[in-house]
C-alpha cells in the first residue's frame, strides 16, 4: 500500500508479500465498489422509476429498467412544481448573496478589527447556528405576523439571512484570519480606512471565501424545510415544501414523485458535482474550527 512512497522499506519484506498485496488490493477495491453500488441504489431507483410510465411501476417491475422511456413524469412534475421552483430561485437569489455579503463584513471586523468583548460576542453568535429552531419558531411567527411578513417570501428571506449569519461569519472570519496583519497596516499607512482596506485589500482576495459561502448557503437554503413549512403560505412555498405535499398527498404515482425529487435535487446536485471541492470546505468549516 505504500509502494509509491517507501520502496526500500517494502522491498525488504516484499517477496512473499507480493500475492498478499494483490489480495489486499482486490479486497479494498471490492469493498469500495460494493459501497459505491449501495450508495447509488437510491439514484438508480429514482432514475428508473421517473422514466417509467405508471403502468410500468409494479411489484414485479419495480427494479427493472423501463421498457420504454418516457419524459411524461418530468413534464407533469415540472408543471406541478414550477411555481415552487421559481419561489426557491427567488429565495436563494436574495438570501444567499445577502448573507454572504454580511458574513464577509462581519468576518472582516471580527478578524481584523477586534474590539473588547469580541471574544464573547462571537461564540454567542455561533451558538445560533446549532440551536434547534423549534426554540424560536413561536415568537418568530408572531414577530413576522406583526411586521406583515408572515406567509410570504420576504419573511423567509429575512429568516434565512439572519440564521445564516453565524456560519457565513465563521467561514469568512477564519478565511480572513490567514491574511497577515502587515497587509492591513500597509494599507493604513497608505491612508486607507476601514472601507478602503476592505475594498482594495480584502475584497480582491475574497473570491475563494465567497465561493465557499455562496455554495454552502445556496445548498442549505435550497434544501431547508422547517422554516419554509412553518412561515410560508401555499403561494410562496419553496420546492421542498411542495415536494413533501406531493409525496404526502394521495398521489401514489411514484414515477411522478421520483421525477419531482430529481427536479428538487438537481440544482444543488449540479453545483456539488461542479464545485464539490468548495462544498466540502464549507462542510468542514461547520465542524472543525481553526
Amino acid at each position: 500500500m505504500t509502494a509509491v512512497t517507501a520502496p526500500d522499506a517494502r522491498s525488504k519484506r516484499a517477496k512473499p508479500g507480493q500475492s498478499r498485496r494483490i489480495i489486499s488490493r482486490t479486497v479494498i477495491y471490492g469493498l469500495l465498489i460494493i459501497a459505491a453500488i449501495i450508495f447509488l441504489i437510491p439514484v438508480y431507483m429514482v432514475l428508473v422509476t421517473s422514466f417509467k410510465s405508471i403502468d410500468q411501476v409494479g411489484v414485479s417491475t419495480m427494479w427493472a429498467f423501463p421498457t420504454s422511456f418516457t419524459l411524461d413524469s418530468f413534464t407533469r412534475a415540472f408543471e406541478l412544481l414550477s411555481p415552487n421552483l421559481i419561489n426557491s430561485l427567488i429565495l436563494v437569489a436574495f438570501a444567499v448573496p445577502l448573507s454572504a455579503i454580511l458574513g464577509s463584513l462581519n468576518g472582516y471586523v471580527l478578524s481584523k478589527w477586534k474590539f473588547p468583548g469580541a471574544n464573547i460576542i462571537f461564540p454567542l453568535m455561533l451558538f445560533g447556528m446549532f440551536i434547534p429552531y423549534q426554540a424560536v419558531l413561536i415568537p418568530m411567527v408572531q414577530f413576522l405576523r406583526s411586521v406583515g411578513m408572515y406567509g410570504g417570501l420576504p419573511g423567509l428571506i429575512l429568516v434565512h439571512v439572519v440564521y445564516g449569519l453565524p456560519i457565513t461569519t465563521l467561514i469568512f472570519r477564519n478565511y480572513y484570519a490567514e491574511i497577515p496583519r502587515e497587509l492591513i497596516e500597509s494599507g493604513q499607512i497608505d491612508g486607507a480606512g476601514f472601507f478602503g482596506i476592505y475594498r482594495w485589500i480584502m475584497l480582491p482576495i475574497s473570491a475563494p471565501g465567497f465561493v465557499v459561502v455562496l455554495i454552502w448557503q445556496f445548498t442549505q437554503i435550497w434544501n431547508e424545510f422547517l422554516f419554509a413549512v412553518t412561515i410560508t403560505s401555499p403561494g410562496s412555498q419553496p420546492i421542498t415544501v411542495a415536494l413533501q405535499n406531493m409525496s404526502g398527498s394521495q398521489i401514489v404515482e411514484w414515477n411522478l414523485q421520483m421525477a419531482g425529487a430529481l427536479l428538487a435535487a438537481l440544482p444543488t446536485l449540479i453545483v456539488y458535482i461542479l464545485l464539490g471541492r468548495y462544498f466540502i470546505r464549507g462542510l468542514l468549516a461547520g465542524s472543525v474550527k481553526g
Binding site: A9, L32, V109, W113, F225, L243, A265
Partner: protein, 372 residues
C-alpha cells in the same frame, strides 16, 4: 493617524452592530419568549379570544413527564435516544471504513469520494421521498431477494410496529440508577488497578451508597407516572437510521479523510520500520490520532439527530408515532393542535439537550483557538 484608526474602529463596530442586534433578537430574545410561553398555558383559543395567558410555572414540563395523556413525548424521547445512538454508530462506522479504504491510494478516489458525499448535497426532504419509496413494504428493497430466487423480505420498515427491548417507563429511574452504578463500579475498579486509592475509595463508597439506595427502593420515589407505560426500541426507526446514515456518512468520511491526510507519512513509516503491520499502524498510530475527530463527529451528528425533523416529517408526517421525534411533536402540538405552551416546553427541552452537547464543544474549540 491615531485618531483615524480609532474612528475606523468605531466604524468597524458599527458595521457589525446590525448583525449582533439581529442575532440577539432572533436567537436570544426569541428563546427567552419561548421559555416564557412554556411557563404559561398559552394556546390558540386563548389567542383568538384575545385572552391573556396565565402563568402556570413548570406545569407543562411536569405534564410532559408525568401526565398519561402526554405519552407521545416520552415515546419521542425513547425514540431519540435509540435513533441517536444507532445513527451516530452507523455514520462513524461507515465513515471511518470508507475513509481508510480511500486512504489506500486507490485509483478513482475522486469519483468514489463524490459518490459517497453526494447525498450531503441533497435535502432531507428528497432523501425522505426517495427512501419512502425504497422502504415501501410491497414494492421497495423487500423485492430485491426475489431477484435471487428468494421470497420477498417481510420487514415493514418505517411502518413496522414491532419493538424490542421493551421496558416500563416507571422503572426508568431504576434502569438509570443501575447503569450509573455500573459506571461507578467500572471507574472504581479502574482507580484501584491504577493504584489511585483515594479516588478508588471515594468511588467505592459512592457505589455502596448507590447500591443501598437502589435496594431500599429509592429510585421508585422518582417515578411520577400513575400507570405503567411500555416503551422500547421501535424497529421502524431502523429505516430512518439507514436513510439518515446514507445521507450523513459521507460527512464523517470527509472529516476522517481530512484527518488521515493530516497524519504525516513519516509517522506511519516510522511505525512500519518498528515492525508494525499495516493493521497495527492503523490501530496504534492512526486511530488514536483520529480520536479528536471522532469526538467532533459525535457532537455534530448528535446535535443533528436531536433536531432531526424534515426526514421524519416526510416519512411519517406526524402520524406515525413509531418514528416520532420531539421536533415533530413540537411542530404538530404548536401549529396544528394550537397548544403553544406545550410546544414551547418541548422546544425548550430540545434546546437544553442540544446545548448540553454543543456548549462545551464550542467553548473548548474557541479556547483552543485563543491559545494559539
Amino acid at each position: 493617524m491615531k485618531g483615524r484608526v480609532n474612528r475606523d474602529r468605531l466604524i468597524a463596530f458599527l458595521m457589525l452592530l446590525p448583525s449582533i442586534v439581529l442575532v440577539f433578537i432572533f436567537v436570544y430574545v426569541f428563546i427567552g419568549q419561548t421559555t416564557y410561553t412554556s411557563l404559561t398555558d398559552s394556546n390558540a383559543v386563548q389567542q383568538l379570544s384575545r385572552a391573556q395567558a396565565n402563568f402556570v410555572g413548570f406545569q407543562q414540563y411536569n405534564s410532559l413527564f408525568t401526565n398519561p395523556l402526554d405519552y407521545r413525548f416520552r415515546m419521542d424521547l425513547v425514540n431519540t435516544v435509540f435513533f441517536t445512538v444507532l445513527f451516530i454508530a452507523m455514520c462513524l462506522g461507515v465513515g471511518i471504513g470508507l475513509a481508510i479504504l480511500l486512504d489506500q491510494k486507490v485509483k478513482g478516489e475522486g469519483t468514489l469520494r463524490t459518490i459517497f458525499l453526494f447525498p450531503m448535497a441533497l435535502s432531507f426532504v428528497v432523501t425522505g421521498v426517495v427512501w419512502k419509496w425504497l422502504f415501501n413494504p410491497t414494492y421497495g428493497i423487500n423485492q430485491l431477494p426475489t431477484y435471487f430466487g428468494l421470497p420477498p423480505a417481510q420487514f415493514r420498515w418505517f411502518i413496522s410496529e414491532e419493538k424490542v427491548l421493551v421496558f416500563n417507563w416507571q422503572n426508568l429511574p431504576y434502569i438509570i440508577a443501575i447503569i450509573a452504578l455500573g459506571f461507578v463500579i467500572f471507574f472504581a475498579m479502574r482507580a484501584w488497578v491504577r493504584r489511585r486509592s483515594t479516588v478508588g475509595a471515594l468511588l467505592t463508597a459512592l457505589a455502596l451508597l448507590l447500591m443501598a439506595w437502589i435496594t431500599f427502593g429509592g429510585p421508585s420515589n422518582l417515578n411520577g407516572l400513575p400507570i405503567p407505560e411500555y416503551y422500547g426500541f421501535n424497529l421502524a426507526l431502523i429505516a430512518i437510521v439507514i436513510a439518515a446514515g446514507w445521507q450523513m456518512s459521507g460527512y464523517t468520511m470527509a472529516m476522517y479523510l481530512a484527518g488521515l491526510r493530516g497524519i504525516s507519512e513519516d509517522l506511519r513509516e516510522a511505525a512500519r520500520v518498528d515492525g508494525a503491520s499495516e493493521v497495527g499502524v492503523y490501530r496504534h498510530v492512526v486511530l488514536p490520532l483520529l480520536a479528536p475527530i471522532t469526538l467532533s463527529a459525535i457532537i455534530i451528528l448528535g446535535h443533528i439527530s436531536l433536531k432531526i425533523f424534515d426526514l421524519v416529517y416526510v416519512m411519517g408526517g406526524g402520524d406515525n408515532l413509531y418514528i416520532d421525534m420531539p421536533s415533530i411533536n413540537m411542530w404538530f402540538t404548536t401549529f396544528r393542535a394550537g397548544d403553544f405552551a406545550k410546544g414551547a416546553a418541548i422546544a425548550i427541552i430540545m434546546l437544553v439537550m442540544v446545548a448540553v452537547v454543543i456548549v462545551p464543544y464550542l467553548i473548548s474549540n474557541l479556547r483552543k483557538e485563543n491559545e494559539l
